[in-house]
Amino acid sequence: MSADSWLLLGKALWETLYMTVVSGGLSFLFGIPLGVLLYITKPGRIKENAVLNSVLGAIVNATRSVPFIILLVAIIPLTRLLVGTSIGTTAAIVPLTLAAIPFVARIAEGAINEVPFGLVEAAQSMGATPLQIVSRVLLPEARPGLINGMTITLVTLVSYSAMAGAIGGGGLGDLGIRYGYQRFDGVIMLATVVVLIVLVQLIQSIGDRLQNYYDRTR
C-alpha cells in the first residue's frame, strides 16, 4: 500500500471515530433520559402518564422505522439549521445522532426494566422522591445493562457512519466504496474492512470490560 493510501486510511479512520464518538455521546446524553421517561411514565410506574408514554413511544418508533439512508437526506434542512451546512463529516453527525437517540432510548428502557421493581418499592418506603429513585436506584442498578447498550449503539454507529458518504461525510465506509469498489482497489477495500473489524472488536472488548467491572450481581 502506498503512502497516499495510508494517509487516506488514516483520515477515513479519524472521520469514522469522530462521527461515532460525537454522535454516540450526544445520543447517550439525550437517549438515556428519554429511556428513563419511557420507563417511568408507563402505567403502574413511579410517574405514570399514559398519554406522554404513548406519544413518546410513537415518536421513537416512527424515527426507528425510517431507513437511515433516507433519514440522512430527509432531514437536510434540520442539519443545515443546526450546523450551518448539509455536507461534510460534521453534518453527518446530525442524522447519526437523530437515528441513535431512539435506539439508545429503547435500550435504556430495557436495561431499566431489568431492575427488580421491589427495589423501587423499597426506595419509596424510605421516602425517596421520583428523581432520587431514578438517580440513586434505577440508573446505578441498570448500569451494566446500560453499558452493554452503549456498546451496541457505538458498534451500530460505526456501521451507520459508512452511509455518511452519501452526504460527503467521509469515513471508512466511504473510502471502501469510492476507492475499493468504484476504483477496483482491492487492497484499500481489504484494509478498510480490517480496520473496521479491529475498531469494532476494540469497542466491544472495552464495553465488556466496563460491564463486568460494574456488574456486582455475580
Partner: protein, 343 residues
C-alpha cells in the same frame, strides 16, 4: 401506634372486581410485636403495603403515630415514611451498593452528611452483626445476612415502626430463628413497634404479642398470642394452631375417627396445658383416681410467646361415668376439648 379503620381495597382484575381488603379494623399497640397471619391470597401483603401507602387504600383510614396517612400530600408522605421502616421477603437490596452503602441509602435520601451517615451506620453494623461484611456486595452474602442488611437499612432513619412483609419466608428454619431473635431484640431495645405479615405460625408463636387472622380480605379473629393458641375460635385459626404444634393424630386412629358418639365409642380429647401445668402429673392422677385408661395419640410441648404450652391428644377408655369424671377433673385444671370419638 398503628390504627387501621375500615380499610378497603378493591383490585380490578380483567374486568372483575377483587376485594383484597374488606373493612379491616386493627390496632397495633405501641411497642408491641403484632402478627397478621393468613394463607396466600388472603390480602396480607396488600394490608401491610397500605400501612406505608405503597398501596393506596380504596377507602378507610391509616393512622400511624397519630397521623392519618391517607390525608397527606406526596411530600408529607415521604417525610412520614422516614418514620416507618420496611423489610421484604426478597430483601430488595441494591446490588450495586456495598452493605455499608445499602444501609446508608435512607440517610442519603434524607440529605444526611457523610459524617452523620457514618455515626448512624456503624452502630447498626454492630447491632446486626455485619461488621465484617461492611464492604461486601449483596451477591456475596447469604439470605440471612441479606435480611440483616435490610433490617439495618430499615432502622437507619430511626423509625418508630418496622413493617415486615413475609420477612422470613425465603429463609431456612435456622436462619428464620436468628432473624426473629434480631427482630425481638430490636423491639425490646429500640422500643420499635413491629408489624409482621406471615403465613408461618412459627413466626407468630416465637415473637408476636398479638395476632390477627386474615381470610379473604377480612380479619376473622384477633387475640393475644397465648389465648389464641389456647383457645382458637375459628376453624382457620384451629388449623393454624395445629400447623404450629404439628398436631395430627396417627393414621391408625384417624381412620376410626367419628364426630358423633355411638354405642361403645370412646372420646378423643385435646388437652392444652399452660405454664406450670406442663410439669404436673394430671393424667396419671386422673387414671388412678377414676380407674380410666389413657391412650396418648399425640403430645408436644412448645414455647409460645415465651411460655411453655403442652398439647396432648388422648383417647379415654373406661366406664362412661368414670370417663365423665376424669374429664371433669381435667377441666378443672386445664383446657379440655372433645375433638371426636373412636369406636
Amino acid at each position: 401506634m398503628i390504627e387501621l379503620k375500615n380499610l378497603t381495597k378493591v383490585f380490578k382484575v380483567g374486568g372483575r372486581e377483587l376485594k383484597a381488603l374488606d373493612g379491616i379494623n386493627l390496632t397495633v399497640p405501641e411497642g408491641s410485636i403484632y402478627g397478621v397471619i393468613g394463607s396466600s391470597g388472603a390480602g396480607k401483603s396488600t394490608l401491610i403495603r397500605c400501612v406505608n401507602m405503597l398501596e393506596r387504600p380504596g377507602s378507610g383510614r391509616v393512622i400511624v403515630d397519630g397521623q392519618d396517612l391517607t390525608q397527606l400530600t406526596g411530600k408529607e408522605l415521604r417525610l412520614v415514611r422516614h418514620n416507618i421502616g420496611m423489610i421484604f421477603q426478597h430483601f430488595n437490596l441494591l446490588s450495586s451498593r456495598t452493605v455499608y452503602q445499602n444501609i446508608a441509602l435512607p440517610l442519603e435520601l434524607a440529605g444526611a452528611s457523610s459524617q452523620e451517615i457514618e455515626t448512624a451506620v456503624i452502630p447498626l453494623l454492630d447491632l446486626t452483626g455485619l461488621k465484617e461484611k461492611r464492604d461486601s456486595y449483596p451477591s456475596q452474602l447469604s439470605g440471612g445476612q441479606k435480611q440483616r442488611v435490610a433490617i439495618a437499612r430499615a432502622l437507619a432513619s430511626k423509625p418508630k415502626v418496622l413493617l415486615c412483609d413475609e420477612a422470613t419466608s425465603a429463609l431456612d428454619p435456622q436462619t428464620t430463628r436468628s432473624i426473629l431473635g434480631l427482630l425481638k431484640d430490636i423491639n425490646r431495645e429500640l422500643k420499635i413497634t413491629v408489624l409482621i405479615i406471615t403465613h408461618e405460625m412459627d413466626v407468630v408463636k416465637t415473637i408476636c404479642d398479638r395476632v390477627a387472622i386474615l381470610s379473604h380480605g377480612q380479619l376473622i379473629e384477633e387475640n393475644d398470642v397465648e389465648s389464641f393458641f389456647l383457645n382458637p375460635k375459628t376453624e382457620l385459626s384451629r388449623e393454624f394452631v395445629c400447623s404450629a404444634i404439628h398436631q395430627k393424630p396417627a393414621a391408625e386412629v384417624e381412620s376410626r375417627f367419628q364426630s358423633e358418639p355411638t354405642e361403645g365409642s370412646r372420646p378423643v380429647v385435646r388437652i392444652t396445658f399452660v405454664g406450670r401445668r406442663v410439669v404436673e402429673p394430671l393424667i396419671t392422677r386422673a387414671a388412678r383416681q377414676f380407674g380410666t385408661d389413657f391412650v396418648i395419640l399425640q403430645a408436644d410441648i412448645e414455647t409460645v410467646h415465651g411460655k411453655s404450652m403442652g398439647f396432648l391428644m388422648v383417647e379415654i377408655m373406661g366406664e362412661e361415668s368414670d370417663v365423665e369424671a376424669s374429664m371433669t377433673f381435667l377441666r378443672d385444671n386445664v383446657q379440655v376439648e372433645v375433638v371426636g370419638y373412636v369406636s
